[in-house]
Symmetry: C2
Subunit: 199 residues, 2 copies
Amino acid sequence: MDDTPRRPMRADARRNYERLLAEAEALIAERGTGASLEEIAKRADVGIGTLYRHFPTREALLETLLRERFDALGARATGLLDAPDPLDALLEWLRAFTRGTRVYQGLAESMLAALRDEESELYASCHGMRDAGRALLVRAQRAGTVRADLTALDMFVLANAIAWAAEALPEDAGIGERFLTFLVEGIRLGDAGAGQGAR
Amino acid sequence: MDDTPRRPMRADARRNYERLLAEAEALIAERGTGASLEEIAKRADVGIGTLYRHFPTREALLETLLRERFDALGARATGLLDAPDPLDALLEWLRAFTRGTRVYQGLAESMLAALRDEESELYASCHGMRDAGRALLVRAQRAGTVRADLTALDMFVLANAIAWAAEALPEDAGIGERFLTFLVEGIRLGDAGAGQGAR
DNA sequence: GCAATATACGGAGGGCGCCTCCGTTTAGGC
DNA sequence: GCCTAAACGGAGGCGCCCTCCGTATATTGC
């Protein structure tokens, strides 16, 4: 809970930490979440050991790169709790989420993997965001506009699946939005009983 | 087009080919599509060079492993063209597809990757199946039970996304079916105008 | 300023996986 | 049985991961 160590970082350590982060950001933006850690270290002009000291796992590095985004998405969700239409609010948030997941190629994959491993830095780090998203879902469900049997976890996974698909066909710019539309149609409860007639 | 070479395979070649296939099947079932090719060769008691001679790429190997399944899925789609309810038929096929995609962990990923690369053996190999699926979709659209703006490619990608998600949470047995339900709800045109009221 | 020491650095090295290349072996036609 | 086209196998180069530990240096207390 106490992230601030008694002593501040040594000057060289802090410098290397920042260089690493900058180069990681650049290379991961370029090559995706699987980018070579050795190359990041090289570009940051730092030994590979130094990289591993600051970021013991690839996920730790990713987490640092993403934490701000997660927090922002959490805040966004909380803000949207006041929006007039709960379903629109949810859609809007899902949109923001999937867009955010596209910053780095491979991120959806990493997120889902993290979801299965509670030890993962990513898991902990996006916890708040997930909770905020859940609140948005619950509100829409209370309002009766989203099916009650949809779990927050399911929603999260589905959003990642959409991001994953969108990532895989990058030349198709509209794909994410299209799929989100399908998702929302699929989980909403229609104004007129949602045409559940057939089944 | 002429897959049968003039001469039949030499006996040792044929034997190795079959051993490789058997071990590949086993190891990929165990470890997913990313299984080590060197280990496959080792288990088949064959040099790595021999593996590469028979299967120049990982995809070629996968393709051989999967072709029968693809053909079966294609046939299934064609068969379902006679089913009474076009939407049910489509759902049934999507179910078969996503279930099939779960045989090997990582397969959805491989399929989507193949989709972007027309040179890929997998791309060519599942072409027939995709076409058969398309026919099923078109029929449902003609019947007015599926939104007309859904592309066969989109449907294919979505089905893979669902398979991908299901693969990522293997301990949750019902996830694939749940997500498929959402998908079908999302792409159908409801019996009573589908509650498009709000938007 | 100058030790003394806690911190931090760096990269060699072991492991694994990919894939190619080419010297060696062998099946099968004659 | 010989000869040759066909097939084999694995060494070796490359890239990546990650650990470990000898070396360097920033900081602190004097």
